[in-house]
Symmetry: C2
Subunit: 208 residues, 2 copies
């Protein structure tokens, strides 16, 4: 397809598409001679992915480039690709407070052990969760372990759903793409549904 | 206590405490004559809450004022207070994309019906979840209903844990405060644990 059709299908302006090509976020189309450049379905899919990262994930162009490089690494284990994506997609979510305390890191490790999750020392989620525990503590509401265990249970339900959806896809490239999109979009999905569920449970329990 | 002790206990500089008083986020201390002003434990707790909203929730001063006004509304049903807090605390989380499509709103409504959650038309989470569905669709990965149902299940586990923790507190004012803190801090907690769980599940399933 020509750039006009690619633009129409994705809702991205031709000038923006050219900008993505210059920035290395999208491979150049195939030059057919004259002024014609041909784009494929793979271009369209890559463009959709780039838009999701930039607009919904609010990643910088540099971060999108990092994630795409990991996606395109030939023969990389899927878990390694996912790790790069997680790091890039999670930085904005880290609460902007001082380093987590050793006590909170230890609590997260204990939680991980109770959930039988194995080793997670390098996972960015460990640091995020520990900072949050510090935040609750400082706000004057230390969290009980039981509360954390319920949240871990919910996280596991989400992660199984994520991987289940990924497993339905036909090839590795689509699978890693969905991991990226799911990491970005799963957060606000979870947040939105948590808001609804909180209101539902509050209304059921509270006496007016 | 004097402002120096309040500052030491909370880690908030005296000039910042005075700024919060001027901005109406913290009631003034009791003037004891001379230059002495006395602050109570209630001041300390309110100050911790304000900090959590500003720093970790990254709310504006105006939004914090709205939430505090709802908290301090005498005799307001707890569900109404929670609703104001949810709105204020969720605005930043709404994906910055066009209005949700009618099709996605209908899918969220169907999901809510399957979860037996009752009416949620006014909940901000409905709009957020619908925008996310649009985002997945535009990224080229429409989500199956089954995936959404698992996320709803996880949200309910979280919400029950939230309300359970709130129910352990001695009075209404502490309960509504925890609802606010839990809404702000529960999001990154859930996000961090979801990251860990995703890595764990991916590592277990993927062949290297």
């Amino acid at each position: 397809m020509q750039i006009g059709e690619l633009s129409e299908r994705t809702g991205v302006a031709p000038a923006t598409i050219k900008y993505y090509v210059r920035e290395g976020l999208l491979p150049a189309g195939e030059r057919l001679g004259g002024n014609r450049t041909e784009y494929s379905d793979a271009h369209e899919q890559r463009l959709r992915l780039v838009r999701a990262m930039l607009e919904i994930g609010q990643l910088s162009v540099a971060s999108v480039r990092d994630v795409l490089a990991a996606l395109d690494e030939p023969g990389a284990p899927i878990a390694a690709t996912f790790d790069v994506a997680q790091q890039a997609l999670s930085r904005a979510a880290v609460p902007d407070v001082s380093e987590p305390t050793a006590a909170s890191l230890a609590r997260v490790d204990a939680l991980v052990a109770r959930a039988s999750w194995g080793d997670c020392d390098d996972n960015i989620g460990r640091d995020i969760a520990a900072r949050v525990l510090d935040g609750f503590e400082r706000a004057g509401f230390p969290l009980p372990d039981d509360y954390l265990d319920r949240y871990a249970e919910a996280a596991q339900v989400q992660a199984e759903a994520d991987l289940g959806a990924v497993g339905l896809l036909p090839d590795r490239s689509r699978m890693t793409e969905l991991m990226v999109v799911g990491t970005i979009l799963g957060d606000p999905l979870a947040l939105g549904l948590r808001r609804i569920a909180q209101a539902v449970v509050t209304n059921r329990r509270s006496t007016p």
